[in-house]
Symmetry: C2
Subunit: 253 residues, 2 copies
């Protein structure tokens, strides 16, 4: 395995009772996953946990140790149920301090909005030793300490923080993918998929069935970090589908 073959992985802890109650539909899993792909980092596991300190600490410790990076979303706002900073500090065994630059950002942002009160100042609290992740959208920054990146729960604020991190994390070769799809029942081609995957050991094939307008079909996604292997696998799969009389669409349907 050469240096560029190294696979970089990340874990994600999504924090919030609102996700576990079904009230809020999470959008951060897909957003963080897609962003990581472009950075050459693979999302290896997600845990969604409630606003309970010990549960957040447990998930943070479990996922930060097995991965190159850990991301969290949620729980960094100004209210009493925002306890992610406390949980990460507890997981790392460090204290919580007011970050002077975060305080300055908040003071500037709220200068004409009534100034910094107790609630707003909560958003300047960080684990001791942490740096800030800029956020152009609102006053409150994200927080970075070691391999842990704490981001907002509101998806478009989290997006700003990801944008600020783009290109700053060391990753490996990005995972490439090709998709083809058709009104093909996956149970009709399961042997073909298995054979093609086995013949291309650097590739994985995922099969994603759908039901649309009363018809069954599937998209087949081939993934590899090796562009040549990917094209070879795609060619073999297309050939196999054509030989069996299936119509398919490049790019998926």
């Amino acid at each position: 395995m050469t240096a560029t073959d190294r696979i970089y992985t990340a874990g994600l802890v999504v924090i919030g009772d609102e996700i576990l109650s079904g009230r809020t539909h999470d959008k951060n899993i897909a957003q963080v996953a897609s962003w990581l792909q472009v950075q050459g980092i693979r999302l290896s596991e997600v845990r969604v946990v409630p606003d309970i300190l010990e549960r957040i600490v447990e998930a943070v410790n479990a996922l930060r140790e097995g991965n190159d990076y850990l991301f969290t979303t949620g729980g960094i706002g100004p209210t009493h149920d925002d306890i992610t900073v406390d949980a990460v500090a507890a997981a790392l065994g460090v204290g919580v301090v007011i970050h002077p630059a975060a305080r300055a950002v908040l003071e500037k942002y709220y200068a004409d909005k009534g100034g910094v009160n107790e609630g707003r100042l909560r958003m300047a609290r960080v684990p001791e030793g942490a740096d800030l992740i800029p956020n152009r959208m609102s006053g409150a920054p994200g927080i970075k300490i070691g391999n842990i990146h704490m981001m907002a729960g509101v998806p478009h604020i989290a997006a700003q923080m990801l944008d600020a991190l783009t290109g700053t994390l060391e990753g490996g070769a990005p995972l490439l993918s090709e998709t083809i799809g058709g009104y093909i029942p996956e149970s009709e081609v399961s042997s073909l998929l298995r054979e093609v995957e086995q013949a291309h050991e650097d590739c994985q094939i995922g099969s994603y069935p759908f039901f649309r307008e009363g018809r069954v079909g599937a998209n087949f996604v081939i993934r590899s970090t090796d562009a040549d292997a990917l094209q070879s696998c795609l060619y073999t799969l297309c050939e196999g589908l054509a030989e069996n009389g299936w119509d398919f669409t490049p790019g998926g349907i």
Copy 2:
């Protein structure tokens, strides 16, 4: 604590590379969470793991032991990447068998569609000792063994399986909720929220900020299994917001 005070919990394992790659936006977390609320069961944790046997086994074992129920979504289809049945069987230390009733369902469903081939028969494989969860939508049933419920990854098929399970699981008092919201920056009312929650120990208050059309606001969700405590907490919060001059909308905005 009386019998009705007992809190029932469930874990959910979402299985699939397509979620971790960002290609597919998960809809099952919110769907299962909302359904569980109505059954009087609280979703306590979600883990999203890749199509790797050991990783599924690990997540299944972690969440089935700490909860009354475990649900899985994904990986019960006919293709080579569908390994949830194998993983659950491995977690429980039992073998995998063809379920005769599942085979019969599939034979009937595929009678005029070319019959049951090798791929389709994969969908009749179950951990030894399992029962089926009916699915009116397609031939493939869900699977139930002990406190584990294996469901499809396609959201509207999972919905059929949840529907078949409605009312069959023992739960506690359902978690009730009331929501109020307004164009109120949550940092302005963080002390109020904390005080009101502390004064109502049977209630939790969640604060969910939003940014819409250039304005900041938040919805405040009060949750309790005690209807009287919930109304009392709601009243106190509304009173506190009104005293501070905030406009708010019952039901949230």
